[in-house]
């Protein structure tokens, strides 16, 4: 850096007051005191009681501080924070984002400030905001995952740990952890052993059989599954012929991937009727969230939608509430009883083709009005 003086810090006046107070009226409404009809949205996720099934998707909500300017975080079931690693990571060079039809590609490269920064600053803020936290962890080696998990042991307000295994496995340089059942089981098993809280394995859709990877994660002790991470994609500039992302390839998210996500949740639900599932991928409104619940998700994580509207999670929560009230259903668990788990689950299917027509996942009768 040049030694010319940095006026931004020494001499110039800076606009300081960028942060406006929260809109109190919206907050009161959000907390259900706005005189609207209510339904009980609480769910249990791997034994953890959550006030709502709506959570945030890792990497799409930072640690909540920015969104707290737009809405009250207390409406959320939990905040799933950006994946953290042992050391700070700087991530991929820009450009990191390309918009695609009904979606976006990102190549952030897991930029984060490291687990110690999280514990010191972000977690404190989230605890003060009184919102349950699901900590997402990542690493390039099994040892790195374990050391991050170890630091999180007993962290206040951390109700679960989500293991983002969509990282390249530097030990066996071939692929991502989540592309291989053995590597998946290795990481999940080791992480689980150093934590008391439930461990969720976040799986990649870029595999031949997601149920096989899910099985490996569950056998290794995962309490639940997060489905799905982004789909690997790429965009090329036609003027130059060069990749449009600094990281060359990127993760596709948004409405474009929703059918893939619904299929993945459905398929895993068919194979494992009782496993706790956080469903995500392209959920933009309450209808999409209900679709994910019908497919078998116990909780629904909202990702890309937050970028478009910072109050998406609030709108989706209200939408589900309204839907239940309008259909005369008092609680989400009632709805869930209509949708499953099925009394006689179909046998785990090896291929999506045989899973798709199996009866029983959507309710056989339409929701009754009372």
């Amino acid at each position: 850096m040049s030694d010319i003086e940095d006026l931004t810090t020494t001499e110039l006046l800076r606009p300081s007051e960028l942060v406006k107070p929260i809109d109190r009226k919206a907050e009161a409404e959000a907390a259900g005191r706005g005189g609207r009809p209510q339904a009980d949205l609480s769910v249990r996720l791997a034994g953890i009681p959550l006030r709502s099934p709506i959570v945030t998707a890792s990497g799409c909500f930072a640690s909540g501080k920015e969104i707290a300017e737009f809405m009250d975080l207390r409406v959320l079931g939990a905040v799933v924070v950006k994946s953290m690693t042992l050391e700070p990571w700087q991530g991929k060079p820009p450009p990191r984002m390309v918009e695609t039809p009904s979606g976006m590609l990102n190549a952030i490269g897991l930029q984060n400030k490291g687990v110690d920064y999280f514990l010191r600053y972000d977690l404190q803020a989230l605890n003060a905001a009184k919102v349950p936290v699901i900590a997402s962890i990542a690493g390039n080696t099994q040892q790195e995952f374990v050391r991050v998990a170890d630091r999180l042991r007993g962290a206040p307000g951390v109700i679960a740990v989500e293991v983002n295994i969509s990282c390249p496995n530097l030990e066996d340089r071939s692929s991502m952890f989540s592309h291989d059942p053995k590597a998946t089981a290795g990481v999940i098993g080791n992480v689980r052993r150093c934590l008391e809280v439930p461990v969720f394995a976040k799986l990649s859709p870029n595999v031949t059989s997601i149920t096989d990877i899910a099985g490996a994660a569950l056998d290794a002790g995962a309490a639940g599954l997060s489905l799905i991470n982004t789909l690997l994609g790429m965009a090329i500039d036609i003027e130059t012929g060069k990749p449009r992302l600094g990281g060359v390839m990127g993760g596709l998210s948004g409405p474009a991937i929703r059918p893939v996500a619904v299929r993945a949740v459905y398929e895993v639900r068919q194979a494992y009727p009782d496993v706790p599932i956080i469903g995500m991928g392209g959920v933009m409104d309450y209808k999409d969230a209900l679709e994910m619940i019908w497919a078998g998700a116990n909780a629904v994580a909202i990702g890309t939608a937050n970028f478009i509207d910072p109050r998406s999670t609030l709108d989706i929560t209200r939408g589900i509430e309204r839907f239940l009230v309008e259909h005369g259903i008092r609680s989400l668990s009632r709805l869930r009883a209509l949708s499953g788990p099925r009394s006689s689950p179909p046998a785990p299917s090896a291929t999506p083709a045989s899973a798709a027509p199996s009866p029983g996942a959507p309710p056989s009768a339409p929701l009754s009005r009372r």
Binding site: M1, S2, D3, I4, E5, D6, L7, T8, T9, E11, L12, L13, R14, P15, L18, K20, G59, C60, F61, A62, E66, I67, E69, K82, W89, Q90, G91, K92, P93, P94, P95, R96, M97, V98, E99, P101, S102, M104, N106, A107, I108, G109, L110, Q111, N140, N164, S166, P168, L170, N229, T230, G247, G251, P255, N306, F307, I308, D309, P310, R311
Partner: protein
């Protein structure tokens, strides 16, 4: 930062190539600073889903409850095309004002504003504020051709001295703004430089500022998914305070305005970490 549904007050063609959208957004107008931007949500379409960021070109705080902000843009793709189709009274979802704007010097008087193409839009707001603070304002503005200079008339009014350059020589000096910059600095006795426009221009302006040992503030434009600080898509490589290391810093909240000397221009496109991160996310 506020989110709300504003209302389009007017949409005008601006010169041959640009569009201007004036939006009633009193809270944003009240607190906006030059260099800050708004994130507009164009009417729905199945090809795009994200908001579009635009520099605040001007604010009108005068009319109280109907205070407005103005943005000027050119049609690049579907998002800007949809915005260009908006008419008076259309509702529009807007978030703003976002980011760190340009800082106004306490002690220095002669400010040189350097703009390139449509990137010059924040100079109007900035120039007015600087003049209101009693500064001398000079303007150097360049573009590929005459029709891509934003409001030359207004820029002439703004600057004690105003110079234009075009790549094709259709107006003003035939060449780049950086060809004229050293001469302009000396003639105007410039003490602070402000620049907004394409990245190669910002880099070249910074190099000249460093040579003249002048403070320079640049407004960076990166691809933004959220524009509110939650996705980390908008980062630029920035030197830390001590100048000992480079970090990826969000341009939406920590920027878009940075000290040009703290931008690690030659680190764009390079990995800052030894370890190669994963593809995606």
């Amino acid at each position: 930062m506020k989110q709300y549904t504003g209302e389009v007050l007017s949409h005008r063609k601006h010169g041959e190539e640009y569009h201007s959208l004036t939006v009633v957004a009193p809270d944003i107008a009240a607190s906006a600073r030059p260099g800050q931007f708004v994130n507009l949500r164009p009417p729905a379409d199945r090809y795009y889903i994200l908001r579009r960021p635009f520099s605040i070109c001007r604010v009108n705080r005068g009319s109280g409850w109907a205070a407005t902000i103005e943005v000027i843009f050119d049609i690049r793709g579907p998002g800007t095309a949809a915005l260009a189709a908006m008419r008076a009274h259309d509702p529009i979802d807007v978030i703003g004002p976002i980011g760190q704007g340009f800082a106004i010097p306490k002690n220095r008087q002669a400010c040189l504003l350097i703009g390139g193409g449509v990137g010059a839009t924040p100079l109007f707001f900035l120039g007015e504020e600087l003049r209101a603070a009693g500064k001398r304002v000079d303007v150097l503005c360049g573009a590929s051709r005459a029709s891509r200079l934003v409001n030359t008339l207004e820029l002439k009014r703004l600057g004690a001295m105003t110079e234009f350059t075009t790549d094709d020589g259709s107006v003003g000096y035939h060449g780049l703004v950086t060809d004229l910059l050293p001469n302009m600095i000396e003639r105007c006795g410039s003490e602070v430089l402000y620049a907004c426009g394409p990245r190669p221009m910002l880099q070249a302006v910074t190099a000249i500022a460093i040579k003249y040992r002048l403070p320079v503030q640049v407004a960076l434009e990166e691809q933004m998914a959220c524009g509110i600080g939650i996705c980390l898509s908008c980062v630029a490589p920035i030197y830390n305070q001590k100048g000992t290391g480079v970090m990826h810093v969000r341009t939406c909240l920590e920027g878009p305005v940075f000290n040009g000397a703290r931008v690690a221009w030659d680190r764009y496109g390079t990995d800052l970490d030894e370890a190669d991160g994963p593809p995606g996310n």
